[in-house]
Structures are given as C-alpha cells and as structure tokens.
Amino acid sequence: MNGSSMWEAVSGIIRRDLLLAMRRRSDAAMSVFFLVIVVSLFPLGVGPDPVVLRTIGPGVLWVAALLACLLSLSRVFTADYVDGALEQMVLVPQPLAVLVVGKVLAHWLISGLPVVLLSPLLGLQFGLSGESLGVLVMSLLLGTPTLSMIGAIGAALVLGVRGSGLLVALLVLPLYVPVLIFGAGAVTSSMAGIGGEANLSLLGACLVLSLFLAPWATAAALRIALE
C-alpha cells in the first residue's frame, strides 16, 4: 500500500469513468444542456432591460450551475451500486476515501468543468463586463468542485432509497447555500467595483474544507449503503 499503487487505483477510476462518459455522451451533455436552457430563458422572461439583466445575472448563472450539479448527482454512485462495481471499490487495498476523491473528480470533469467553460459565454447574455466574467469563471472554478464534493455525501447517503432524487436535494441544498452566496456575491461585488477577492477566498476555503472532510463522510456513507 504505497503512494504509487494508490495513484494507480485513483487514476484507473478516473480513466474508467471518463471512458464511460465518452460512451454515454447524452448523460454528460444533460447538465450542460440544462444550464444553457435555464440561463437562456431568463432574458426572454424578464425582458431585455440591460440594467435588470446585469443585476440578476450573477445570481441566475450561479443558481443554474448549482441546479445542474444537483441534477447530475444521482449519477455519481448509482450505476456502480446497481451493477456491483461499488462492492469491488470498497474491497480495494486502498483507503476508500481516496477512491471517492477519484470518483468525484471524474464527476466534476464530466459535469462541472463544461459548466465553468461555458459560463463566460452565458454571462455575455446578461451584459457582464470582461472583469466580472473573469470573476464568474474563477468563482465557478472554485465553487463547482465544492458542490460535487458536498453532493457526493448526499448521493452516497441516499443509495438504494426510493425517491432518492428529491431526498438528495433536501439533504445537500442547505450545505450548498453558503457556496451560492459566496459565488454569486463574488461576481456582484466585482461588478460594484469592490473586487471579488474576499468572496473568492471564502470559496477557496469552502473547497479546501470540503476536500478534506467530504471524502471521509462519503466513504462512511458508502459502507453503510453496502451493509
């Protein structure tokens, strides 16, 4: 049980999950598609007033990104749970928490990163300036991995439960609120000209905290689900 075999197991998991996502592109495209639709409908519904759009822009983008993440959570562990791959994961001679990090990282690469990359384009629809767009991307880059990390705990807790989609939303939404406030706050304050650094630092702190705690909590939840 040394560092290299641990890395081998984690990279093996990431590679497998990315390969699976390549084979099932429609699943991976769903959260991006959802984000684009929600964000594009707002200007149509609210009207083309640039002042209004600029005011609601950061909040709308962040809420949409958060919901897109929530939507994809059920895919993190369910398939592995159903086909027995999760049992094999638990019986690997590596700490389960380390493998969980691999799973969540793969999940973020598939459903979080596209959201981050697409966000500047969507921000333009709301008339965000160049600097604010930069802050938006930064905030999502720090925030979406946190959402995936926290979401993994919820996804693991509701494994094998009926109606798990609704339950996972109830479980993780309260924990998502700080990330949403700091994320949208970063963009809003950069638009107001006071810079988004303070909020971005808080987002960074959230990310570090979730990276540190969420894998252990998720691993414990997975073990309970398999008993």
């Binding site: 049980m1 075999s5 081998e8 197991a9 093996g12 998991i13 590679r15 497998r16 390969l19 699976l20 084979r23 099932r24 398939a79 159903v82 086909d83 027995g84 791959a85 049992e87 094999q88 994961m89 638990v90 019986l91 690997v92 001679p93 590596q94 700490p95 398999l226 008993e227």
Partner: protein, 206 residues
C-alpha cells in the same frame, strides 16, 4: 488461514446464524450450502468485511480482519453475485479496469489470455458488454481469477448461468489455486467437483 469465531448475524428481525465457528486452512475450500435465505451470502460478505457481524470476529492469519482493513483487502479476491461489469465497456476494458482498481494491473495480452482461458473468444473481447448473455457476463467477471495472485478467494454462486464446460474450467482453476496453497470460500447450491479431502462443507440451516 481464515477463521470465524462465534459469529452472529441477523438481517432485520431474522436471526440467520449464531455462534458459528469455522476454520479454513490453506489449500482447502469451504463450500457454504443451504436454502435460499439461510444467510450464505451474508456469511460471505462478513468474510469479505463488507458486512460487520453482530457478534464475533473473523481472523485472517490470527488477526481480526476489521483491524487489518486495507491489508486484508490486499489478500482477497471477492466476486459477488453481482458481476460488477459495465455494460458500456468491452469485456477487455472491464477486466483490465477491474484489475487495475484491485491494484493488480495486467497487460493487454494477459487480460486477453484470461478471457480466452474462460472460453470467451477474441471477437467477443471487443464487443460492448451489454450485448453479451448472462453466462458470458459471468465469465467476464470470473476471468479475474486467472489473473488474481491473492491467496483468498471469496465467490458467491460462481457457477450461476455458466454452462457445464465453463463450470468445469472454473472448477479446474479453483483446484490449481488450492494446490498453490490458496484458500477459497464458495457459496453454492451445486456440488463442487473437487476431491472431498480438500472440500469442507458448511450447511446453514437458517
């Protein structure tokens, strides 16, 4: 040596077994038999450390497996009644990713040979697993046994949906494993066609 010391297990309200003691020496096989719902799979899951017993403990070479944790996981190959096969991956990809996850990476050729050993011909290696039959999927899962170097094998109904030829091949593989001082716990409702002196039977009454 694998040893169960006064194990007790209940699922829900039902008591499956109490004060179960059994010892499996190197080079021998424990065949767990019993009716449906008598706790065979639960016992295997306790042996694998997936399930913790209500009471008692499982010892591997004299040490409690719950304390050995990852060290114990490095000693065993567990194949449950679920195959752990991804429908969207080919048998070859499934086998190789399962092995690399278990920390026993194998070469492309090694994996192909293992699949052939269990009777899956080369053209099948490249098909998505969702088009395979149940028996073929089971074979993909069991192909891991040809690559495993672990001393302890825990198999849950390995012969389910296998044809007679494949059953014979797997039994032969089990025999080789035991001859190399390996040990195995097999949950099965079929007779394991191995010499009786190396097979120990445990009947659970439920």
């Amino acid at each position: 040596m694998l040893q169960a010391v006064s194990l007790r297990c209940s699922r829900g309200e039902r008591r499956l077994f109490t004060d179960l003691n059994v010892k499996v020496e190197r080079g021998s096989l424990l065949a767990v038999v019993g009716e449906n719902g008598s706790g065979k799979t639960s016992l295997l899951r306790i042996f694998s450390s997936l399930l913790s017993p209500e009471q008692g403990s499982v010892l591997w070479e004299g040490q409690d497996i719950l304390q050995l944790k990852e060290l114990y996981a490095g000693q065993l190959t567990y194949i449950g009644h679920l195959n752990g096969i991804k429908d969207d991956l080919t048998p070859l990809e499934n086998l190789m990713s399962a092995m690399s996850l278990a920390g026993e990476s194998c070469s492309n050729n090694g994996a192909k040979e293992a699949l052939e050993a269990i009777g899956l011909k080369r053209p099948i290696h490249q098909l998505p697993s969702k088009v395979l039959s149940q028996g073929q999927k089971r074979r993909v899962a069991l192909a891991r046994l040809w690559l495993s170097t672990r001393p302890l094998w825990l198999l849950d109904e390995p012969f389910t949906s296998l044809d007679t030829a494949a059953t014979a091949v797997v039994t032969q593989r089990l025999h080789t494993h035991l001859q190399r001082a390996g040990l195995a716990v097999v949950v099965t409702h079929q007779e394991v066609a191995l010499p009786t002196e190396i097979v120990q039977r445990l009947r659970l009454t439920g």
